[in-house]
């Protein structure tokens, strides 16, 4: 068995009296797709925030590729290869889609010339290729604030992928996406991530998405991992069905 890519041990964090993380132990293996499910307030986003350096746990440790990352700044963690995407996509709303993508590529390449256009030919082509892989190449000239939710999510994730992360943490990649688009969005996303060899952890409320795309499922409950295993096992566990899916199942 290979070493885990991400390894969290004993993460603890409380806000006032609420325990958002109460001893989280989790290993994420290279190449896997791990879904996190659980009711609202269980601490799912808190886990992502701790892993990406936005929240500092009060106890525990996190290692990425064998090195401790706790205490590093969010920017340093990004540069080590942990990307993230958001429940509410974080796009530069007054920029076009291609500018968003090109900025991500420029950030990754560390190219900050103040006098060469962002969209000079070579850059433009690279940005178009990136968007094409996500199936949104037809939207290059659209302003980001004019996109529908599915395209916004894909653009958001495309920007994270532009940084060539080894691990991508996605917070509810399908929330807000119209039901008719949902499967298509996830399929596109999974195809690109698999092709890139990106390991992914994603928070998801849609059990159909989880069942189809996750290699393993972790069930969050009150700051703890209540169950962990392959979807067919976890999603049929009566306790999970009662506590989690009963609350946060199909909308």
């Amino acid at each position: 068995m290979s070493a885990p890519l991400l390894s969290a041990r004993g993460l603890k964090l409380a806000f006032g009296g609420v325990k958002a993380a109460d001893g989280i132990d989790l290993d994420v293996m290279p190449g896997e797709f791990l879904a996190i499910i659980g009711p609202n307030g269980a601490g799912k986003t808190t886990f992502i925030n701790m892993t990406t350096g936005y929240l500092k746990p009060q106890g525990g440790r996190i290692e990425f590729a064998g090195e401790p990352i706790l205490g590093l700044s969010p920017r340093a963690i990004v540069r080590r290869g942990i990307g993230r995407s958001f429940q509410l996509p974080q796009l530069f709303t007054e920029h076009t889609v291609i500018e968003n993508a090109a900025l991500a590529l420029a950030a990754h390449a560390g190219i900050w010339s103040p006098f060469v256009p962002l969209l000079r030919p070579g850059y433009r082509a690279a940005a178009e290729r990136l968007l094409d892989r996500f199936g949104i190449a037809h939207l290059t000239e659209t302003r980001a604030d004019a996109l529908n939710e599915g395209a916004r999510k894909l653009a958001d994730i495309a920007m994270a992928v532009a940084l060539e992360p080894r691990l991508l943490l996605m917070d509810e990649p399908t929330s807000g996406v119209a039901a008719t688009e949902k499967m298509q969005v996830v399929e596109t996303l999974v195809r690109v991530l698999r092709a890139e060899g990106v390991t992914a952890v994603f928070v998801e409320h849609d059990m159909e998405v989880v069942a189809r795309f996750a290699d393993r499922v972790a069930v969050w409950s009150q700051g703890r991992i209540a169950a962990l295993g392959p979807p067919e096992q976890v999603l049929n566990d009566p306790a999970v069905l009662r506590d989690v899916i009963g609350i946060a199942g199909h909308a």
Binding site: T45, Y54, F86
Partner: protein, 311 residues
């Protein structure tokens, strides 16, 4: 050191008394700025101009009352009347016709609008009161001075600056705290400050609360100016100094901190007075040095609470 203190002790004592009086005035302006920001989410760049207009109005009213042969006590009435007039006239005018158009807009636009208002009000002062110094110190001279014992010496100091100014500042601090905690209107203001949507959903008329708060803030600034008017001659430019100084207080204390603003006013008032007596070139610099030093160490201000970043 001991020798220096003996030589300069009196001056230091005088600086302390001056600083206290000055701090009281700064606090009056800063607290209004804070209150308005809490509810309207706008830092009003023209807030200092309301201080200046309050001061000019008070001086004019005082001079008018005196010319009518009214007793000196009327001078105090002039101070309060000036604050009430400026608050009640300019407050609603500005809120209703200007600020209400820009709630929820980008901050840069709000800043530009209140800055434009500031430019306008600065010249309104010049048009109405001219550029020659205006002074009406009767409310201060009428009370006379008191000998403040200081070591073996005494410092004669005006009762107005020693008692009236700090007294009113303390009364404002206590009164405001009680008002916000104990009265219905006060609690509504607190509710809107904490969460406008939730407050509106509970049936609070946020529009009205915003109007009232802005008016109250304007009146507090004008009262600060009115109280300051007997202690100095009024010249153009007071508004600019006042807004940056009161902003410095608010930023150093932390946005929204009323008690903190009181302590910070004291600190800056004392710092400034010491500079006035010992290094007058740096009078203006001292409060900002304090601010920069504090913000470098605590970006959220001395008493400010760090807002958790929403991701």
């Amino acid at each position: 050191m001991v020798g220096w203190l003996q030589d300069n002790g009196l001056l230091l004592g005088l600086a302390a008394l001056d600083g206290l009086a000055y701090a009281a005035l700064v606090f009056m302006v800063a607290v209004g700025l804070n209150l308005v920001f809490g509810v309207l989410r706008i830092v009003n760049v023209a807030h200092g101009s309301l201080f200046a207009i309050g001061a000019y109005t008070a001086a004019s009213l005082g001079l008018f009352f005196a010319s009518q042969g009214l007793p000196p006590l009327a001078g105090y009435f002039a101070l309060v009347l000036a604050a009430a007039l400026v608050g009640a006239l300019l407050g609603p005018l500005i809120e209703r016709f200007l600020l209400r158009r820009i709630y929820g807009h980008e901050e840069v636009l709000q800043l530009l609008v209140t800055f434009a208002l500031f430019m306008i009000l600065e010249d309104v002062q010049k048009l109405v009161w001219g550029v020659q110094p205006v002074s009406q110190d009767l409310p201060m001279t009428y009370l006379g001075t008191i000998d403040v014992p200081f070591g073996d010496d005494v410092i004669p100091f005006t009762k107005y600056q020693l008692f009236v100014l700090p007294g009113i500042a303390v009364a404002t601090l206590v009164g405001l705290a009680l008002f916000l905690r104990r009265t219905l209107a006060g609690r509504m203001i607190v509710a809107v400050t904490a969460d406008k949507e939730a407050a509106t959903a509970m049936g609070i008329d946020a529009t009205r609360i915003m109007l009232l708060t802005f008016t109250a803030g304007a009146a507090l600034a004008a009262l600060g100016g009115a109280l300051a008017s007997p202690t100095t001659s009024l010249v153009p430019g007071v508004g600019a100094q006042t807004i940056v100084l009161s902003f410095a207080v608010v930023a150093t204390a932390g946005l929204g901190q009323i008690e903190g603003a009181a302590l910070t006013s004291l600190m800056m008032g004392l710092g400034r007075s010491v500079a006035v007596y010992f290094a007058p070139e740096f009078e203006v610099v001292v409060p900002y040095l304090i601010m920069v030093a504090v913000l470098l160490v605590r970006p959220q201000g001395l008493f400010g609470v760090l807002e958790t970043r929403r991701v």
